[in-house]
């Protein structure tokens, strides 16, 4: 479930990145790298788990599924927190700079 949530997040972010490219004012590319990187790593985790559990891997207990969903959503939230911090620090549109400094004539 965590893998699934991460893959969906990666696909949505990539689609948004492509739509706004070549401009990268919102730094959506960062989210793409975060979610694709974690998706690939969880894919490996899933393959190893499948090798161990077999078909039972696809029929998890509802409690485990809920916990994994909760984890997946938390991971997306963490990814977005990292992204928003980087966006505000890099400030590509100069909004923060504009608020901090006033132009002197």
């Amino acid at each position: 479930m965590t893998l699934l949530v991460s893959v969906f997040a990666a696909i949505i972010c990539t689609a948004i990145w492509y739509k706004t490219a070549p401009k990268s004012e919102m730094k959506v590319g960062l989210l793409c790298w975060l979610f694709w990187g974690s998706s690939l790593m969880w894919l490996v985790d899933a393959i190893f788990e499948y090798a161990e559990l077999g078909a039972a891997y696809f029929t998890p207990e509802p409690a485990d599924m809920l916990n994994d969903l909760f984890l997946g959503l938390s991971v997306v939230a963490l990814g977005m927190i990292i992204w928003i911090i980087v966006l505000l620090i890099k400030d590509p549109k100069g909004v923060i700079k504009g608020k901090l400094f006033r132009k002197k004539s």
Binding site: L30, G37, S38, L40, M41, W42, D45, S74
Partner: protein
């Protein structure tokens, strides 16, 4: 248990390699002309190394959170729960790092190599068009 440490180690090493590559490349730039006649600069290799680093750092960061979630990593010494549980747990952790962790790093690197091959092919296509003109 701590499989994310393997790709994280690769990320640290490759970030250093990227910084060295950036310094070596300096301001050298290869210019090409696109299909529609626009003059463009070829992407330097250090920037392509950045793709690998972003994948590795991004994945490691989110996986570190997952390990924290499952209690396999703690924010205080000795940081790895297995280290507290004894030698059996440590050997299990090392085994997982050697299998799952190495596979994670290998898959990310393989995906990056595919990205390199595709980008190289696209660059070649653009250069061929340039020489044909």
């Amino acid at each position: 248990m701590a499989c994310f440490l393997v790709p994280m180690t690769e990320a640290i090493v490759m970030t250093v390699v990227q910084k060295v590559a950036e310094k070596k490349e300096g301001t050298k730039a290869v210019r090409v002309t696109s299909e529609d006649g626009c003059k463009m600069e070829k992407m330097p290799f250090s920037k392509k190394l950045g793709w690998l680093n972003k994948l590795l750092w991004g994945g490691s960061a989110l996986l570190a959170f997952e390990h924290l979630w499952h209690g396999e990593v703690v924010p205080f010494f000795p940081f790895l729960t297995a280290a507290k549980e004894g030698p059996e747990a440590v050997s299990e952790m090392l085994g997982e790092m050697g299998t799952v962790g190495v596979s994670m790093a290998a898959l990310i690197t393989a995906v990056w190599v595919v990205m390199l091959i595709v980008s190289k092919a696209l660059e070649k296509k653009a250069l061929k068009l340039q020489t044909a003109e």
